[in-house]
Subunit: 234 residues, 2 copies
DNA sequence: ATATTGTATTATGTATACAATTTAATCCTA
DNA sequence: TAGGATTAAATTGTATACATAATACAATAT
């Protein structure tokens, strides 16, 4: 009996340490928002969600507070929380900030990365290009997202990485809409290729500038998509 | 009577709405950290603080979670929270991100502000210069802080403003240290003057670049100060 | 019929009680 | 006496009960 407990410390540092309950709930809520189970503007009633996920109000409230800090839901004192709705303007403002962060990330990445890591980035880029050529939107999107994240993480600045992650989560599923337009997709792919070339050339300022412009443009397109969808609902 | 209600929208929206308890506690904790009542690395025991502030654990835990999201304290599951300690490296990484945000803010401010608001900024700048000339460190610092905040808020991008605020709070009292060195103070003052000139000239890219460099430099200096203080404690 | 006030219901905010986990202290055993 | 396990204390995590504020509804008056 006692031995079994001791094993705990013998093996790995923290293998059995699963996420905390509030974190798991927060993840679940995020997914519900991304999946559209909770649509924007929807009222969030604590007790309802508690029954659904079979937890008590205390950890649920913590999770709600987390999402609130992340900007995914808006919380009014004594008046409950709602899934945050986002206007085209807010979306473009959001991407304005993200573009600036990615510009910095790109510059840092170019200046500090080892050649081998740049090569790994190129592999992703080529795979993305293949998906584009094959017209595989979903796979392209996944790779695209992965590349952006990779570049940010290659900056090796934890605060930058974290801040970027938080802001990106606000864009949620809307990012998909950036590729709604075929022309924009072609354009975005071309931009990525130019960015990658600049990175490989070690031209940090240029790579940064290009990345900023690319993300900024993405934000505009997403904003327009939202506006179009809002004015002419499905 | 109905008119009276209508007036509501004419004047102010919600003037009487006071802060919530968790928010007040969070403010209090932040101040305790800034004031050094809670020093970095200090263990945070919920029940102790609850007695001190005379509140129950529930709102206290919410406040702690808020500070944790802001990065002012670090929270380990089941193991409690500690006031976050910050290394020189982290401080410079922090300012690296802040510098990027302020670069963006400055560009936006230059491009979107009305002349009258630029003039108001100049007033602050001149007052700061006066304090510098008079050797009034504390007043200079207050004005300096105010100018940076003003420029960020003049960007009119709420997400940028909020993100910047959160990151700045992590720098807390350490920012004071940026002026520990007399030479740096003179240097910083000169940088501010050049930045202001670029803003007035409407040169957004240049103003942005200068601001970025200025903040970046500040971060380095603060980092060095921390390092010096750490190696040779008072 | 409309508007206003009072009441009931519902949901959120706070406090407390209980459970689980970590940290320490104590008591063995080699 | 040192090492280690076991137990005790303290602290965090979770659930629930209570308090308070907001909303919905109904009744009354204008």
């Amino acid at each position: 009996m006692a031995r079994a407990i001791k094993k705990n410390t013998d093996r790995k540092p923290a293998p059995i340490r699963r996420k905390t309950l509030p974190e798991e709930i927060a993840d679940h809520l995020r997914q519900m928002i991304i999946d559209g189970v909770l649509k924007e503007g929807d009222r969030i009633v604590e007790t309802e969600l508690c029954e659904t996920l079979n937890v008590s109000r205390t950890p649920m409230r913590e999770a709600i507070k987390t999402l609130s800090h992340e900007g995914l839901i808006k919380h009014q004192p004594n008046r409950g929380a709602r899934v945050a709705s986002i206007t085209p303007l807010e979306m473009s403002q959001l991407f304005e900030v993200i573009s600036s962060l990615e510009q910095l990330a790109t510059e840092l990445t170019v200046r500090t990365s080892k050649p081998i890591d740049i090569k790994r980035l190129r592999v992703l880029q080529d795979r993305m290009a293949a998906h584009h050529k094959a017209g595989e939107r979903k796979d392209y999107f996944a790779l695209n997202h992965q590349i952006h994240l990779r570049i940010v993480s290659m900056s090796k600045n934890p605060i930058l990485i974290e801040t970027h992650g938080t802001l990106m989560s606000r864009a949620r599923h809307f990012r998909y809409w950036a590729l709604a337009d075929e022309d924009r997709w072609v354009e975005a792919m071309a931009e990525h290729e130019v960015i990658m070339t600049a990175i490989e050339a070690g031209d940090a300022p240029r790579a940064g500038q290009l990345m900023k412009a690319h993300v900024l443009r993405t934000g505009e397109v997403v904003g327009l998509s939202i506006k179009a969808a809002t004015n002419a609902p499905e």
